[in-house]
């Protein structure tokens, strides 16, 4: 039993150790031979990775290492960028999401996303959360109300804004906006939530709230989070992958990555010797 989590390429078997806790969770997403090109730029090189269900997986690495690009391949957001070419597979519960039969729109309902810059629609708080539900044609007012309330409670925003649901979402503070974006993603009941540096533009208190939220959410959702902040990765994630120049250098238990990494490069980055 080895290479459960994957390595940079097939020949290089490594990255392993005691993972009793890890093995309890099923594999939710599996990247296989994943390569991605922006024009001539080889942005992701032969990525193999198994992402576990109901756990938080952090992607770390210096700017431009491919961690955000990898994240965006997981819900096919790169499809909207012209000039992107991809080979290899990404399997969600064993189904290749790049198969021609896959409905991208349905896929994105299963794999939600939260962006670096909070991006609420210039609509009311309520309408922001209800957006995804209205897309699938939900019109029942009580049902909508219920889901909106539940989602806002899940994202720990309900108490703060329950009296001004119908005011503009743009009035909220940066941290509240970001939690609104999380609520909006939760409303369509996804199974996986991708977070692209969700706290990088926030103050420490708002960041703490988001991190607390991630802790709660991983009980029910599979979370993949890109972060620049290594302490954050150490705090919120169960697994950590270190990316460098389009390679996935190391992927392991977060504890192991931060205390006893297998690779010299990982150690150098973790300890701040570069990056």
């Amino acid at each position: 039993m080895s290479n459960e989590l994957g390595t940079i390429d097939k020949n290089q078997m490594s990255v392993h150790s005691d993972m009793q806790t890890n093995l309890e969770n099923q594999i939710k997403i599996q990247a296989k031979d994943l390569n991605l090109f922006y024009g001539d730029n080889h942005a992701l090189k032969n990525i193999h990775m198994n992402i576990r269900e109901k756990a938080a997986t952090a992607l770390i690495g210096p700017s431009g290492c491919g961690k955000s690009t990898f994240l965006r391949t997981l819900n096919r957001m790169n499809d909207t960028i012209p000039g992107v070419r991809r080979t290899g597979e990404i399997n969600l519960d064993g189904v290749n999401i790049y198969d021609s039969k896959i409905d991208v729109v349905a896929l994105r309902r299963v794999i939600g996303m939260v962006f670096q810059k909070s991006n609420p629609f210039p609509k009311s708080i309520y309408e922001n959360v209800a957006y995804g539900l209205r897309l699938i044609g939900m019109k029942n007012k009580t049902e909508l109300d219920e889901i909106v309330e539940h989602s806002l409670k899940q994202s720990a925003l309900w108490k703060e804004i329950k009296d001004r649901l119908h005011e503009s979402a743009l009035q909220l503070s940066g941290g509240q906006q970001q939690r609104l974006c999380i609520a909006r993603a939760l409303a369509v009941s996804p199974e996986v939530i991708l977070m692209d540096e969700p706290a990088s533009a926030l103050d420490p208190i708002s960041t703490a709230k988001i991190e607390e939220l991630i802790h709660q959410l991983k009980e029910n959702y599979t979370i993949v989070i890109v972060t620049h902040n290594m302490q954050q990765a150490a705090r919120v994630s169960d697994y950590t992958a270190y990316f460098y120049m389009g390679d996935m250098v190391e992927f392991d238990d977060t504890k192991k990555i931060f205390t006893n990494p297998e690779k010299k490069e990982t150690e150098d980055y973790i300890t701040g010797r570069f990056g």
Binding site: N75, M77, A106, F115, P120, F121, L135, I136
Partner: protein, 313 residues
């Protein structure tokens, strides 16, 4: 230390450049103010000889028999001249409104296509050709309407008048269209990419994203485009002189000949005695037109400002 001391120049070039630029910037305001004052100063003189009611066409002191609909006429060259603005305003709107509707439907559609759907290559050829459309002199458009389109329209609709409001509106729509496309497209492209991403990430299709996110976010800019287009349509002169038939009728029939405010000024001001009643009446028409377009521009400015605030993230 000596080098740090301000050097005394005979002629301070910085000051001169700044003031020249200031003058260039302020000149437009100055010119508008001057035109405004001149126009209204002349227009107001109309009331020396005529009561304001004449502008509508109802003369209060006339006997009952004379007080009928036919008084709502613009007959400036007549033994008893009549200066009712109603037929002119009516004509202007009968041309400008349909023109704006047509130009808006196609213009907003084209803007959505250009900003949201068209691949880069298509956009790069389409956009310049749209801008080329704006560069056709309006006299050429007018001539084209008069010589070609009018006959086609009459053949299709069987209208009584060959030159009518509809033919004029088609021509005006043609010159309004590029304005509406250009401003609407700017408004749509100003919608942040993050909002589109958010919509896609929630499982919206392309069209759902356009309809639910991009258009609502850009609606103020699009409204501004339509308002500005309407102002342009009201102010258009050459096309309407040539293509609308120039009969000052009070009518709601789009296939009737009409005469617009602009066409009236263009056609009559050259032949009128300076300082006469007719002369002042034409200035009054100009003042009314200027007021309407000024208000329209003001509205669009307010609407655009509101859009900027809405999209501030």
């Amino acid at each position: 230390m000596k080098d740090l001391v301000k050097k005394k120049h005979l002629f301070n070039s910085e000051w001169f450049i700044e003031k020249t630029l200031l003058f260039a910037g302020v000149s437009s305001v100055l010119i508008i103010a001057l035109i405004f004052v001149f126009l209204f100063k002349e227009a107001i003189l109309f009331f020396q000889t005529r009561p304001p009611f004449d502008l509508i066409g109802i003369t209060v002191f006339d006997s009952w028999e004379e007080k009928n609909i036919f008084k709502m006429m613009w007959q400036a060259v007549n033994e008893t001249p009549k200066y009712s603005l109603i037929p002119l305003v009516c004509g202007s709107f009968l041309v400008a409104f349909p023109a704006t509707v047509m130009a808006s439907v196609f213009g907003i559609g084209a803007a959505i296509y250009l900003s949201e759907i068209a691949p880069n290559k298509v956009r790069e050829t389409l956009k310049p050709s749209l801008e080329l459309l704006a560069s056709i002199p309006s006299v050429v458009v007018g001539f084209f309407m008069l010589a070609v389109i009018a006959t086609i329209v009459q053949n299709i609709t069987g209208s009584k008048f060959r030159l009518n409001a509809f033919v004029g509106a088609l021509g005006v729509a043609l010159v309004t269209f590029p304005i509406i496309v250009s401003i609407s497209e700017d408004a749509l492209r100003a919608v942040p990419k993050e909002l589109r991403d958010a919509s896609y990430a929630l499982g919206a299709s392309k069209w759902q994203t356009i309809w639910n996110t991009v258009l609502p976010a850009g609606v103020s800019g699009i409204s501004a485009a339509v308002i500005l287009g309407f102002g342009r349509a009201l102010g258009e002169t050459m096309i309407v002189v040539m293509a609308t038939g120039n009969a000052a009728l009070v009518t709601g029939d789009i296939f009737s000949s009409v005469r617009t405010m602009t066409a009236t000024i263009a056609a009559e001001l050259g032949a009128v005695a300076q300082g006469s009643e007719h002369y002042y009446a034409l200035f009054l028409v100009g003042a009314v037109l200027f007021t309407i377009t000024f208000i329209l521009n003001l509205c669009s400015e307010i609407v655009i400002n509101r859009m900027r605030q809405n999209l501030r993230m």
